[in-house]
């Protein structure tokens, strides 16, 4: 995934951008990571499962060179869950893989983040540390890859 899609889009240009961003962070975090972050919050609302967690397949479509004709790249396993909080807010999650607990916790966190009053606190406690950990992982991986990078231009000069 290109790094640009993980940055927060401008709120005016994309009102759902913030939600898309935190849903992406939750989808990339494991169940234990989310549970650990949620445990630092003073209260966790009880939730009702509206649907799922249930696992299924989605067809991933691709375009050659990003602008060619669309084709079916392949199917991937996805788990989804929707939950409702006592005040009626509904949170959704679609995560890759078969971890129902991750999907449920992600949907619960999504619903909690929809409350404008509590959003800052939940973002601080859950989304920020998860996003930081994911950025650090990406960074470490990029560093490892960069160490084996071959500079073709330099090689021609050395010859």
């Amino acid at each position: 995934m290109p790094p640009s899609s993980q940055q927060t889009p401008h709120p005016a240009a994309d009102p759902d951008g913030a939600r898309r961003c935190w849903m992406g962070v939750l989808a990339r975090a494991s169940a234990d990571e989310i549970a650990g972050c949620l445990a630092t919050l003073p209260t966790q609302p009880a939730h009702l499962r509206l649907r799922g967690p249930e696992t299924g397949l989605v067809m991933v479509r691709g375009r050659a060179g990003a602008d060619g004709a669309p084709f079916n790249l392949g199917e991937m396993t996805v788990t989804r869950c929707s939950v409702r909080l006592p005040d009626g807010r509904v949170g959704h999650a679609y995560v890759a893989g078969r971890d129902g607990r991750q999907a449920e916790l992600a949907a619960l966190t999504d619903a909690m983040l929809l409350d404008e009053a509590a959003r800052a606190e939940v973002e601080q406690a859950v989304i920020a540390p998860l996003a930081a950990a994911q950025a650090a992982r990406r960074e470490a991986e990029a560093r490892r890859a960069a160490a084996t990078r071959v500079q073709f231009f330099t090689m021609t000069q050395m010859r």
């Binding site: 509206l50 649907r51 249930e54 929707s82 509904v90």
Partner: protein, 188 residues
Amino acid sequence: MTETRFPGFADPVLDAQASFRAVLEAMSRPGRVQQVVVPPELPPGLSPAAAAVLLTLVDAATPLRLAAGPEAAAWARFHCGCPLVRDGAAVVLDPTATLPDLDPGTDEEPERGATLILAVASLEEGAGWRLTGPGIRDTHRLRVRGAPAGFVADWARNRARFPRGVDAILCAGSRIAALPRTVLIEEG
């Protein structure tokens, strides 16, 4: 809008199987009243049994004609993933729908006939309509309160176009009774 505040079955697999069994029993023994498992909460506009039958029978391959308000429409879209249509529906839950204007299928494909889900006030066995036909040994009595006016006359015309025709599932509370297109209804 496809977001709903209302859940589906408490246990999606077992409750849907139990309800499917109840619908199967109801269809194979016309007029016998069966209990379905009902969802823990319901959107406004749907009776418990009608909601259970929708969750059991309707999916993405089943166009649904639903007239029970926007909450119920969003709930059906969310849990069943069905297309909501006006014409050509496979399952119909609309108090204004009458038997003659529903799709009866074709002679080649009579199984394409629509299924009408009809919310009624009550279903009692032992008195009322006299039912005869396949699945009933002699006669079966079913009292239906709250059926639409002219239903029995419409049913006779529906039965006359066999093998084409519309099947009906009557719902009251958490109870259902089915009228497959083969059944003959006599009043009195």
